[in-house]
């Protein structure tokens, strides 16, 4: 039988899926053990125990200088920035995206500008933001919004244009005004796709968040890992990276679940 026609059973599937993760952990453990047995003070590949001890301190011991539990305060401030940036981005993309996708005059006004704007590498406008809105929260939130809004706006406008013409004509023959079509036909059909767009936009959003925090911040997950890098504190960096990955993953699956829960009628063509 050809290999493309052979499917693993459920148990084998789970095992295969776990294999790369296990392999990475094993390779790391061996490397760490080798280095530590030569030099117990080695910081490059700390042992799992070492990382857990450090994280315990970050989680449960208040920082002497600030009185914060660093792990949680870093997480909270980073998530806050991410949420604000994404909220702005979602609001812009919904209002402008639906208008541009639905109303030809607004499409003519908006689309070329957004296309040009989205070509700017967002990180290059970070200095401009620092100068204009200062080094505080606003610049980081703005960077996330600027980096993700054009992307999401285009996804929303495309989703609106994807609504079959027949449906829009049908709504008009039922007497719907433009406003009624927006609220009763367009928005409900765009919202599930907005969640898909949000899931995709979260990937660059994290990149901009960590970059902004690395360049100018006094708190946050990105700030912390770039701060402790100076002391080669891999026992902080590695758990933080795993934690960020875990957060991103949880957000992604929660959004996917939210979409299935809120929009049972929506069946995307592609598997997510």
């Amino acid at each position: 039988m050809r290999i493309i026609n052979r499917h693993p059973s459920r148990a084998v599937y789970v095992l295969l899926a776990a294999l790369p993760f296990i392999a990475l952990a094993v390779v790391y453990s061996i490397g760490s053990y080798e280095r530590l047995s030569v030099n117990p003070a080695d910081k490059i590949l700390p042992s799992v125990t070492q990382m857990m001890l450090t994280m315990k301190e970050y989680m449960f011991v208040a920082d002497k200088r600030t009185g914060h539990y660093l792990f949680w305060s870093d997480t909270a401030i980073s998530l806050w920035r991410l949420a604000c940036g994404m909220a702005i981005s979602i609001a812009i993309s919904l209002v402008v995206g639906v208008a541009a996708g639905f109303i030809p005059w607004i499409r003519a006004l908006v689309q070329p500008f957004v296309a040009a704007f989205s070509l700017i590498p967002p990180i290059t406008i970070l200095p401009i933001l620092f100068i204009l809105v200062g080094l505080e929260e606003a610049s980081k939130i703005t960077l996330i919004a600027v980096g993700t809004a054009p992307l999401m706006l285009r996804a929303v406008a495309l989703a609106v244009e994807d609504i079959p013409r027949e449906m829009i004509v049908k709504a008009q023959t039922l007497g719907a005004s433009t406003w009624q079509m927006v609220t009763r036909v367009v928005l409900p059909q765009v919202l599930p796709k907005l969640i898909v767009a949000t899931r995709f936009a979260l990937i660059p959003a994290w990149i901009f968040l960590i970059s902004a925090e690395a360049i100018a911040a006094v708190s946050g997950l990105g700030y912390r890992i770039f701060l402790v890098r100076r002391f080669l504190a891999m026992d902080v960096i590695i758990p933080y990276v795993i934690w960020i990955t875990l957060l991103a993953w949880i957000m992604d699956i929660s959004l996917a679940m939210l979409q299935r829960r809120l929009f049972p009628w929506f069946q995307p063509e592609q598997k997510s």
């Binding site: 079959p164 027949e166 449906m167 004509v169 049908k170 709504a171 008009q172 023959t173 039922l174 007497g175 719907a176 005004s177 406003w179 009624q180 609220t183 009763r184 036909v185 409900p188 059909q189 929009f263 049972p264 009628w265 929506f266 069946q267």
Partner: protein, 267 residues
């Protein structure tokens, strides 16, 4: 009474003449089937009735007044696909026309108005045999059920004329016969005027009171551009079909269509 008048309609796309010299008077309460080979412009003609396309010359009158140049409530439509809203339940799909009519800002009805709308919607759903499926989403319905739902949805708004664009073309033969029966009953009971585009001749004769065939009179390659399709046959179907508009079933099914039915009955 004449519901729809098409006066000397020509339609050209650039140099290509698609339709020429179309003159049709459609009596109120009739069921007109437009047939013709594919590419003869019958769908273009329907789009002009719908207001999606403008005739190059000539004009279209609906109840004596020129047609609005965009789709509106006075012309209902059922397409072959995408005629119902996937995000609304079966009941929601039928209600939405009334909601557009009566709730300009919210597009939703509450209290008494909603209760009345639901009553009317249920009567229509019963007429198309979907009473047991009120709370399902269209994705859970078969193709035939979706088209029956689309009919109920279009009739909720009481259009002056119902336009059908090959509405049953994608259905299996058995299902199609079943939907034909529903369509026939609706037409008889509701006193509506229907214009249907189809490429299925037997369907045209089974449902229609009048069959209009469009055809290009000249079809040689060098003539093709300069001659459009026009009316080749205009047949009154025999035996004549009669709407049951006097026995009160129309009024029972949909109270406010009584005026339309009565005016249809006078002629």
């Amino acid at each position: 009474m004449t519901a729809v008048v098409l006066e000397k309609i020509w339609k050209e796309y650039g140099d290509q003449i698609v339709l020429e010299n179309i003159d049709i008077r459609i009596e109120s309460g009739s069921f007109v089937a437009l047939v013709g080979p594919s590419g003869c412009g019958k769908t273009t003609l329907l789009k002009m009735l719908l207001g999606e396309e403008k005739p190059t010359t000539g004009r279209i009158l609906l109840d004596g007044t020129p047609l609005k140049p965009e789709p509106d409530w006075d012309r209902g439509v059922v397409f072959q696909r995408y005629s119902v809203f996937p995000h609304l339940t079966v009941l929601g799909n039928v209600l939405v026309g009334r909601e557009f009519e009566q709730s300009l800002f919210w597009g939703r009805l509450f209290g008494d108005k909603r209760r009345r709308a639901i009553e009317d919607a249920r009567a229509l759903l019963k007429a198309v045999g979907l009473s047991d499926h009120e709370n399902k989403f269209p994705a859970a319905l078969s193709g035939g059920m979706q088209q029956r739902l689309a009919l109920a949805q279009a009739l909720m708004r009481k259009p002056k004329v119902l336009l059908l664009d090959e509405p049953f073309g994608a259905l299996d033969p058995g299902i199609r016969a079943e939907v034909h029966a529903v369509m026939n009953e609706l037409w008889m009971a509701e006193g509506i005027t229907v214009v249907m585009v189809t490429h299925d001749l037997s369907e045209a004769f089974r449902l229609g009171t009048r069959v209009i065939a469009l055809e290009r009179r000249r079809n040689r390659p060098e003539e093709k551009e300069r001659y459009g399709a026009t009316i080749a046959h205009d047949i009154t179907v025999w035996p004549p079909k009669k709407q049951n508009v006097l026995n009160g079933s129309a009024a029972a099914l949909a109270p406010t269509s009584a005026t339309l039915s009565a005016s249809a009955a006078l002629h």
